[in-house]
Subunit: 216 residues, 2 copies
């Protein structure tokens, strides 16, 4: 299974590409924004595509040609300018979803925010609310398609080393999770078709990742 990683140069993205390359059944194609980000992946023999998510759907669709799954883990992050929040976290995600349709890629895994329900927008601080809203609308857009989607809602991301142990369910208590473990969760999700059509929250816990994903 060939997997287009959108946002491959991000912190989750880099772990993910590396885990995909280590797996027997998966192969990565790294989509990055800038030409200078290509070398990091090419030196490990990973195929790349240079596309800025502010470009049009056709450009993204071309990168998605011939892959079997797309993982959207790009993000402007909650602390960039709010113009990028709408143009990347919302519009970039929607364009990637539409590109999946154009390229005929059915499997789509969205890395979302911990809580993107309508209520979460209302409850968020004024500086975080625009980001939650952007992720909300991107998730809603994905759910309205007939793609084979899974939406992953990770807790507070850290750069700690992965523990390999998580808690995963439709609703879990708020907590932290290392980016490395999120990447492992994505791999386990790609390898488990029972996750199609589902969304779940994930934080550090005490179940091995593969088992936790099976129990979703």
């Amino acid at each position: 299974m060939k997997v287009l990683v959108v946002g491959a140069n991000g912190q989750i993205g880099k772990h993910l590409v590396s885990f995909i390359q280590d797996s027997n059944s998966l192969e990565a194609k790294a989509m990055v924004r800038k030409q200078e980000q290509v070398f990091f992946f090419e030196k490990s023999g990973v195929e790349t595509a240079v596309v800025d998510l502010e470009q049009d759907i056709e450009r993204i669709a071309k990168a998605a040609e011939g892959v079997d799954a797309i993982v959207f883990t790009a993000g402007s992050g909650p602390h960039t300018g709010k113009d990028k929040t709408i143009l990347i976290d919302l519009d970039g995600a929607v364009k990637t979803i539409e590109a999946a349709k154009v390229a005929g890629v059915k499997r789509f895994i969205m890395i979302s925010s911990f809580d993107t329900r309508r209520e979460a927008i209302q409850e968020a601080s004024s500086s975080f609310a625009p980001y939650v809203a952007a992720k909300h609308y991107a998730d809603e857009w994905l759910k309205s398609t007939d793609l084979d989607y899974t939406i992953i809602h990770p807790g507070l991301l850290t750069n700690d080393k992965g523990t390999g142990q998580v808690e995963a369910a439709e609703e879990v208590e708020r907590g932290e999770i290392p980016r490395e473990d999120v990447a492992s969760v994505i791999v386990a999700t790609l390898e488990n078709e029972a996750t199609i059509g589902k969304e779940f929250q994930i934080v550090t816990g005490n179940q091995p990742i593969k088992e936790a994903i099976k129990s979703i």
Copy 2:
């Protein structure tokens, strides 16, 4: 017909409330953000509701109870912080649409931007693109409902006195239009059920407004 004007204290909104009050068949309810904006309307005998579009759907639905139509002409404008672009121009619009459903109001008129197609986001300048994207997603959300909607796409807004003469069609050449004329177009749209399910661009032209709206 009682009409909830969302964004009544805006420049289009003030003209609109005044025109509605002057008409025989329409009655305005002005929804404003702040208590101090109430007096302007109450002194002319216009009913008001104080709701901030960052509040929840239920608050907006309460303001919409018992009205026959909603006009969304609120806007953070293209020059405010981009956080407000997503929280007002997109999320505030969507919450108003959802509030219409909750309150059982079928008729919904959206004042959009001149061009909110996918292509327009790509073609917009980087400072304007977030605003176009927000209006794009708000319009898309409205079109996916079964409300009796009309989407009005005015050209470049000016504070010139209205001429009463416009050009209106699905696609017209880019041009200016006084806010006063946009308000008259909204009234003509409210009075013409043939506009339901349609969207049109509007600029200053040489057809009387009522006629122009009839020809849509």
